[in-house]
């Protein structure tokens, strides 16, 4: 997959995640009942549970901020730093989704389809972001392969050893 295709795929996924998080944030603040699947009350229960807020901040809003951050890192000029930022943000998003899924399954005992869809999106995003970061810009040349974040140029120790 070319770097451009990968980036576009991730942008599309982030946009979908952003839509889900925006809807859940809107539902939270407007007080309306979320459109949910066959279980009807699952989303409502999760959305109104004591775990729907973290330190007073709705988790839906935290998710929205997370997706905006991921989107910003994807829209930034592509280099080692932006690829690392995307990977790091998606790992954070995955961790947060894992926590929320744990709460749904083991504490609330109800599943919110919207939250599950967001968890799936962020998991796929994380896998793609890590892959993109680890392969560097191999698909579009190796120009920035040595431009590490705060790290030494990898060839330096070799040169020193030869001299």
């Amino acid at each position: 997959m070319s770097a451009r295709t990968l980036r576009i795929t991730m942008l599309v996924l982030t946009a979908i995640g952003l839509g889900v998080a925006s809807y859940l944030t809107y539902v939270h603040y407007s007080g309306i009942k979320p459109l949910c699947g066959r279980n009807g009350g699952g989303c409502e229960i999760v959305q109104t549970s004591e775990y729907s807020k973290l330190a007073g901040v709705p988790v839906a809003l935290i998710g929205l901020i997370g997706y905006v951050t991921i989107l910003a890192s994807l829209l930034a000029p592509e280099n080692e730093t932006s690829r690392f930022a995307t990977a790091a943000f998606t790992v954070v998003g995955f961790g947060f989704s894992a926590y929320l899924t744990y709460r749904e399954v083991f504490s609330i005992h109800h599943i919110c389809e919207w939250c599950v869809s967001s968890a799936v999106i962020v998991t796929v995003l994380m896998c793609l972001a890590i892959w993109r970061f680890l392969r560097g810009d191999a698909a579009s040349g190796r120009a920035s392969a040595h431009a590490e974040i705060g790290g030494p140029e990898p060839a330096a120790p070799l040169r020193a050893a030869r001299s």
Partner: protein, 275 residues
Amino acid sequence: MSTVEDDEQDLTRKQRREQARAQRRALEEAEAASAVRRTRLTQLGIVVVVVVAIIVGILVATGGSSKTGIAKPGKEAQKVVAEVTGLVGGIPQNGNTIGNPSAPVTLQYFGDLECPICKQFTLGALPTLIGSYVRSGKLKIEYRSLQTATKEPETFKTQQVAALAAGKQQKMWYFIELFYHQQGEENTEYVTESYLQKLAQQVPGLNLTAWTAARNDPELANSITTDGQAANSAGFTGTPSFLIGKTGGAMRKFEYASLTDPSSFDSAIEKLLKA
């Protein structure tokens, strides 16, 4: 040696030098790529460790409701008991049922005493239902057991039987309400014999000797099994779950819209009252 031979030897030497240089370059590039990969993996590893630490911190911080569970003796406990008495006091109780036995509508509430979402309903929409329909004799509510949040089946049986044993003295709903009001943090095994004894002591007018004896009644344990089978038949997998219907008639599954807003319960009850 001829000039041609010299040239061929030079060419071979040059080729060997170039080959060696190319090999060195390839090795350098491979080692450089490997170093870059190691650095990237280290960076990701650091991120993962930080994220895991944060999530563990959040899990600990949001562990659940009160960690201590039972209210401290004194003003705190008196406040809880007064609140529960104000809610269910003066309403007829019979075993697992609260409300007039001839109430036209019956609601069956499938719950697990350790389930925090049941607590949300019990402290959320339920008081309004009791105040509006149970107290006026239009609705009776039956509490039935379905294991969800409680990990150990033995603990589940012990706690649910303890509640049913209070029902032998028509005080099960005091026990249930006091339990949910003082529910401990989930997965902390807070339901001990001491916890159940303290709850029983809070139930106004409960004869503790009779309660202790009733806890050994096999009929109570059997009723928990029956409740579980009824829940399975209805297809319930989570708590709270509800069946509703005209008293003595067929019961149907009730899908609530909210556990804190009683309006969906109100609509279903009103519909049955008019039917």
